[in-house]
C-alpha cells in the first residue's frame, strides 16, 4: 500500500536518475541492467505468452505468428474468455466460500496460539517441544495424512449435522466445502502461529506487564492491547493464508473429488479445463488460468510487500 503511494515520486526521481545513469554509463552498469532485464523477460514470458494465447482462435493453427506475439486481427477472439468465465464462475464462488472463512479462522486461531505461547511466563522447557510440534507441522507433506483424512470425513456424520442448512436449499454436495474449511484451518494454524509468534516476540513487554499489574486478565490484555497492535501482522497472515488456500489443489481433489460436483473449487475445474478427445484447447486453458489466478493476482498487486513479508518469514 505505502509502496503504491510512494511510486509516483520515486519514479520521477528514478527517471532523472536514469538520465544521469545514461550519461555516465560504464560497462559494468550496462551488463547489470542487461542481466536484470533479461531475467525480467524470463519471468514474464510464460505469463505474457499465456495472455496473448488466450485471445487466439486456434493457437496451434496460428503457426504463422510466434507464441508470444499478439494475435493478428483474423485470429483474435474473446470467445475463450467467455467460455472460461462460464466454466469457472461457479468454481470461483465455491473457492471463495471456503477460502475466506478458512483464512480468517486460521489467522485468528494462529494469533491466539502465538499469544498464549509468547506472552505467558510458564517454564520454557515445556514450551520448546510444543513449539517444535507447531513448526514441524508446517512441513508435513499432505500425503502423510490423506488416507486418515478420508476415513475421518467418511465417519463424521456431517450431512446430518448440516441438515438444517440443506433445508434452506443448499445442495448436499456442499459438505465438501465445510470439510475444506475445517481441514484448511487445522493445517493452516501452524504457519499462522509461527508468523504471529515472530511478531509478538518483538512487541514491548513493558506495556503488557503494566496492564497485567493494573489487574487486566490474560484474555483482556489480548483483546485490548495485543489484538489491536496485531493488525499489520494480520494483513500479512491473511494474505499468505488466502493465497495458499485458494491455490491448493490436493485437499480440494480429495474432499470434493470430482470437477463436475456443484461444489467444485476453481483449481479443480481448471485442472481439467480444455482437455478433450481431440486434444488440448490451449487458448481455453490460458484464459482459464488467468480467471482462476485473478483473486490472488489482485491481492499480490495490491499487497506485494505484505505478501513478500509473509513468504520470507
Amino acid at each position: 500500500m505505502s509502496d503504491a503511494q510512494s511510486t509516483d515520486s520515486e519514479q520521477s526521481g528514478a527517471l532523472a536518475g536514469v538520465r544521469e545513469d545514461l550519461a555516465g554509463l560504464d560497462g559494468y552498469r550496462v551488463a547489470l541492467y542487461a542481466t536484470v532485464l533479461g531475467l525480467t523477460a524470463f519471468y514474464l514470458t510464460p505469463i505474457e505468452s499465456g495472455l496473448v494465447t488466450a485471445f487466439k482462435t486456434n493457437p496451434e493453427g496460428v503457426s504463422s505468428t510466434l507464441p508470444f506475439a499478439p494475435p493478428p486481427g483474423e485470429f483474435f477472439t474473446l470467445e475463450k474468455w467467455q467460455t472460461a468465465i462460464s466454466a469457472l464462475g461457479r468454481g470461483m464462488v465455491n473457492s471463495a466460500l471456503y477460502a475466506v472463512p478458512a483464512t480468517i479462522i486460521s489467522a485468528l486461531l494462529g494469533s491466539f496460539a502465538a499469544y498464549g505461547l509468547t506472552q505467558a511466563d510458564w517454564k520454557a522447557r515445556y514450551k520448546a517441544p510444543i513449539l517444535a510440534l507447531f513448526v514441524a507441522a508446517i512441513f508435513i507433506p499432505y500425503q502423510a495424512v490423506l488416507v486418515p483424512l478420508s476415513q475421518f470425513w467418511g465417519t463424521v456424520p456431517l450431512a446430518e449435522v448440516l441438515a438444517p442448512v440443506w433445508a434452506v436449499g443448499v445442495p448436499r454436495a456442499y459438505t465438501g466445502v465445510v470439510e475444506l474449511i475445517i481441514t484448511h484451518v487445522a493445517y493452516g494454524i501452524p504457519i499462522c502461529m509461527v508468523l504471529f509468534r515472530g511478531y509478538y516476540t518483538t512487541v514491548s513487554e513493558e506495556m503488557i506487564e503494566a496492564a497485567r499489574l493494573d489487574g487486566a486478565t490474560f484474555a483482556r490484555v489480548y483483546r485490548r492491547i495485543v489484538f489491536p497492535i496485531s493488525t499489520p501482522m494480520f494483513a500479512v497472515v491473511l494474505i499468505y493464508q488466502f493465497t495458499q488456500i485458494w491455490n491448493d489443489l490436493l485437499f480440494a481433489l480429495i474432499l470434493v473429488s470430482t470437477e463436475s460436483s456443484p461444489a467444485a473449487p476453481v483449481v479443480l475445474i481448471l485442472a481439467g479445463l480444455g482437455e478433450s478427445q481431440e486434444g488440448q484447447d490451449f487458448a481455453l486453458r490460458m484464459a482459464g488460468a488467468f480467471v482462476a489466478a485473478l483473486p490472488t493476482l489482485i491481492v499480490y498487486i495490491l499487497f506485494g510487500d505484505e505478501f513478500a513479508e509473509g513468504v520470507a518469514t
Binding site: G50, L213, Q280, T296
Partner: protein, 349 residues
C-alpha cells in the same frame, strides 16, 4: 471460558480436600484470585494442600493455566489433524485395507512395506523424488541468490523488478502448469521456438521420459526462485555495511567479496529457504496432476506424492498408499528433524 475453567479449578480443589468445612472460603478465594489476575499467585499458595491444577500451577507456573485457553484449542486441533492423522495413517499402513471394505485393525504387519521395497514403481518414484527435491532446491537457491545480489546492487526500479521476480509465487501450481504446458508445446511452444532460432530442437519436453523431470524442475525454479530471492535479500540487508567496506579496504574484488565474506554470512537464510523449497518439491503433486489432468503424471515424473495419491484414490489400495505416505513422511522428517534441532540450538524454539 475463564469462568468455566475457574469453576473447574474450584471443584478440583474441593475434591482434593474431601469436602472440608471451609469450602465456601476456598471458592471465594479462587474466584477473587482469578478475577484479580495478579492476586492469583497468593490464592494458589493458600490452597497448597489442594488439587491437581494447583500442583500443576506450582510446577509450570500460574501462567500455564491462564494461557492454555489461548494456545491449547488450536494446538489440539492441529495436533489431532496432523500428528493424530499421521499415527492413524501408520496403523492403516499395517493393515491390508483396500477396496471399499473398511480397514481390519486386528491383523497388523509390515507386509505393505515389504511390497513397497520390491515395487519397481516405488523405487523409481523414490529416485525421482530425490532428484526433484535435490536439483530443484539447489538450482532455486543458486538462482535466487544471483537475483538477490543483482537486485541489491543499487539498481533503479528495484521494487518493480523484485515484484516481477516474485510474481509467479503468488500463482497456483495448477495455473503455472497450464502456462508451462504451453511453453513446452512441441510445435508452437516458446521454448522450442527460441531453441529453434539457435538451431536446436524441436524437443518433446513433456513426452520424453528422459528429460521431462528436468523440464518440471525448470518450471518450478521459475515459480519459486523469486521466493529464494526475497529470503536472501532480507539476509543481505541484515549484513552490516562495515563488512562490505572492510572487504573493500582489504582490496577484495567484488566476486571475492561475495564468495569469501558475504555468502558465508547467509547460512541462516540458505537453511530456512532450503527447508521451504524442499517441502514445495515434495508437494509438487498439484503441478504434475495438472500437466495431465489426472492421477498418472507424464512418464518419468512419477514421484512418491503422485504415486501415493494414485494408489489411494485411483485404485483404492489404501493400506499400500498409507505405507508410501509413511516413506514420504520419513523423507520429510529427515529434512525437518535436523532443521528443528538447528533452530533449537540457536534458541529459536
Amino acid at each position: 471460558m475463564r469462568e468455566f475453567l475457574s469453576s473447574i479449578r474450584t471443584r478440583l480443589r474441593r475434591a482434593g480436600r474431601g469436602g472440608d468445612s471451609d469450602d465456601t472460603d476456598v471458592t471465594t478465594a479462587g474466584r477473587v484470585a482469578t478475577d484479580g489476575g495478579t492476586a492469583a499467585g497468593g490464592a494458589a499458595g493458600a490452597a497448597k494442600s489442594g488439587g491437581f491444577l494447583d500442583r500443576l500451577d506450582e510446577r509450570v507456573g500460574e501462567d500455564f493455566t491462564e494461557s492454555a485457553v489461548f494456545w491449547l484449542p488450536p494446538f489440539l486441533l492441529m495436533g489431532l489433524f496432523v500428528y493424530g492423522a499421521i499415527a492413524w495413517n501408520f496403523v492403516i499402513s499395517l493393515t491390508d485395507y483396500q477396496g471399499f471394505v473398511g480397514p481390519d485393525y486386528s491383523d497388523l504387519d509390515f507386509e505393505m512395506y515389504v511390497r513397497a521395497a520390491n515395487d519397481a514403481g516405488v523405487i523409481e518414484a523414490t529416485i525421482n523424488t530425490f532428484l526433484l527435491v535435490v536439483s530443484f532446491t539447489a538450482i532455486a537457491l543458486a538462482f535466487g541468490l544471483v537475483l538477490a545480489i543483482l537486485v541489491d546492487r543499487d539498481i533503479r526500479f528495484e521494487n518493480t523488478f523484485r515484484t516481477i521476480y516474485l510474481l509467479p509465487m503468488s500463482l497456483s501450481f495448477v495455473v503455472t502448469a497450464q502456462f508451462w504446458l504451453w511453453m513446452y508445446n512441441y510445435n508452437n511452444g516458446v521454448v522450442n521456438i527460441l531453441l529453434g532460432a539457435v538451431g536446436i530442437g524441436p524437443i518433446n519436453w513433456i513426452g520424453n521420459s528422459q528429460i521431462v523431470l528436468w523440464a518440471v524442475v525448470f518450471a518450478l525454479v521459475w515459480q519459486f526462485s523469486g521466493y529464494t530471492m526475497v529470503v536472501y535479500l532480507a539476509g543481505l540487508r541484515a549484513i552490516p555495511n562495515e563488512h562490505y567496506e572492510a572487504a573493500r579496504v582489504d582490496g577484495a574484488s567484488t566476486l571475492k567479496m561475495y564468495w569469501r565474506v558475504i555468502i558465508p554470512q547467509l547460512k541462516g537464510s540458505t537453511i530456512s529457504a532450503a527447508i521451504v523449497l524442499m517441502v514445495f518439491a515434495l508437494k509438487a503433486f498439484d503441478f504434475l496432476y495438472s500437466l495431465v489432468s489426472g492421477y498418472r503424471p507424464p512418464n518419468g515424473t512419477d514421484i512418491l506424492a503422485t504415486k501415493m495419491v494414485r494408489e489411494a484414490y485411483s485404485v483404492n489400495n489404501w493400506a499400500y498408499a498409507s505405507a508410501i505416505a509413511i516413506i514420504l513422511f520419513l523423507m520429510a522428517l529427515s529434512i525437518i528433524g535436523p532443521y528443528l534441532y538447528y533452530q533449537y540450538s540457536k534458541g529459536e524454539l
